[in-house]
Each structure stands twice: as structure tokens, then as C-alpha cells.
Amino acid sequence: MLVCRDVTELVTDFVEGRMSFWDRARFQLHLGMCRHCREYVRQMQKTRRLLGESPHEAPSSDIEAELLRRFKDWKST
């Protein structure tokens, strides 16, 4: 029988699809009965989504200018 602490350690195996059929069934059974663990899994997914949605930080304009200069040099060779 899985306990909540196990769920918090197995959640990545679960979302990555790296569980055997029976382990997956046991995990899902626990989720079905435990709203706190459902919330925990949602929060892990949310964390992952927020990372993906974080805006791309562009390099500083100095660095961009330097790289574009090198690009032009490369182009001309």
C-alpha cells in the first residue's frame, strides 16, 4: 500500500511514464482516494508548466551586437 510520502517521491516516475503496470495502478489507486496527493501532483505539473512558460531572457544588447558581428564575419568567409 502506497502512502502519501511515497507518492511525493514517485510522482516524476509517474508523469514520465516510467512505472510498471502494477506500480502505476497502485499509484493511481492512491490518487483516486487522496485529494491531497492529487493536489500535490497538480502542483508538480504546474511547476513544470510555469518553467516552460517563463519568458525567454534575451542576452544583453552588447552580447547580441558582438554575436551578430561574428555572424557577419562568418558570413563573409
Binding site: C4, T12, E39, Y40, K46, T47, L67, R70
Partner: protein, 233 residues
Amino acid sequence: MKDSVEDDALVKRLLAGDEDAFRDLINAHHTNMVRLARSFVRNPATAEEVTQETWLQVLNGLDKFEGRSTLKSWIFSILANRARTRAVRDGRTVLFSDMSGEAGEGDPAVDPARFNAAGYWHLPPRPWDDLTPERLAASGQIGEQLTGAMDELPDAQRAVVMLRDVEGCSSEEACNVLGISETNQRVLLHRGRSRLRRLLEPLMELARDHCCREPCWYAAMSPSSSRTSWKVG
């Protein structure tokens, strides 16, 4: 498939000397490349230098890019190799294959005090509700805090989380770039994501408290609110 078509078009534009294409590419990846380089070489200036050298190597090797991997993972592989070589030369090694220092038994996903002796929740996670407009505004800050928190992760965890969750690489790509096993990659990803969730927790609670300052259902429920607000009908 979609990636390879887009990559093909991008490579053609770069080879034709299209400056906008190169600008888009550096805007999309440069900062994360520096971040990855810093997992190998500690010095920020060295990480920047390694990344700039990588761009040059990418351009020089572009005509040999065969599309067997995505352009993105090809670029990150070149970067990781350069950064690793540089770290060794500087007498520093990051052991991605040896996680004992970073993710051993002593790094549980959740503070053990939040479970009872049997391992069930004693202090369960409080719900992070769907974003309300107020919270959307706050989430700009959350994005910033998250980036800051990511920079605080142990080197190997940061590298994996950055490739997987920020750059959107597959686990296979992340393993190839970093030269680690799938199991190793998954443990590092788990430790990194769990740590970031822990860091987000108080921020998400704060965002919800902020919402509750507005007159809303939660406010009516709180014991401090006037009883008159309970009049029904």
C-alpha cells in the same frame, strides 16, 4: 517531424546569411546556454565565453548538420562538450553520473515533518487555484522568482530541469546532451522539480492571500468578516 522541417528551414536561412534568423536563435537560447555552461564552469565570465565560442562552432559546423537530432539539442550538445572540456582544463569536474553529493537520501521531495509517522499527510499542500486575473498579474513575479530559484539549484539538477522544462527537450535529448543515463536524468529531474515546487509554495499561497483581500467568497467565509455578509435572500 515538425521540428525537423522547421530546423531545415532555419539552417537554410542561416547558411544564406540571414541575420534575423541568427538573432532569433540567440535570443531563444543564449541565456539558457550560459546557464547550462555554468553547471560545468562556475565562473560566469567563463560560461559566457564558452557560450560565445559555441556559437562560432555551431556556425562553422552548420553545413554538416544532418538533422539526426534537433538543431536545439545539437547546439546544446556542442555547448556541453565545450564546457566540460573547459572545466577539466580549469581543474573542475561536475560528476553528473555521481549524484551522491546532490540527491541522496538526505534530499526528500517534501519536508518529512509534513507527514505523520505512517507517511500520510499531516500538513497537506494547500490548493493552488487556477489563475484569477489578480494572480495572473502576480505570476509575472512568480516567473522571475522561479528563474532565480532555478539558478540556486545544484548544478546537475539545474542542467536537467533547464533542458527538460525550460527548453522543452525530451528525456532522450537531455541524456545525450549531458551524457547521463535515463535513470540518472530522471532522479535529477525529480529532485530539481520537487525543490522548485517547494520554493513556489509560499509564493502561490501569497498570491492567493492577495486575491482574498478583494471581496470574494473566501473573504465572506473568514471568521473575521462581519456576520451581516451572511444574510441570504
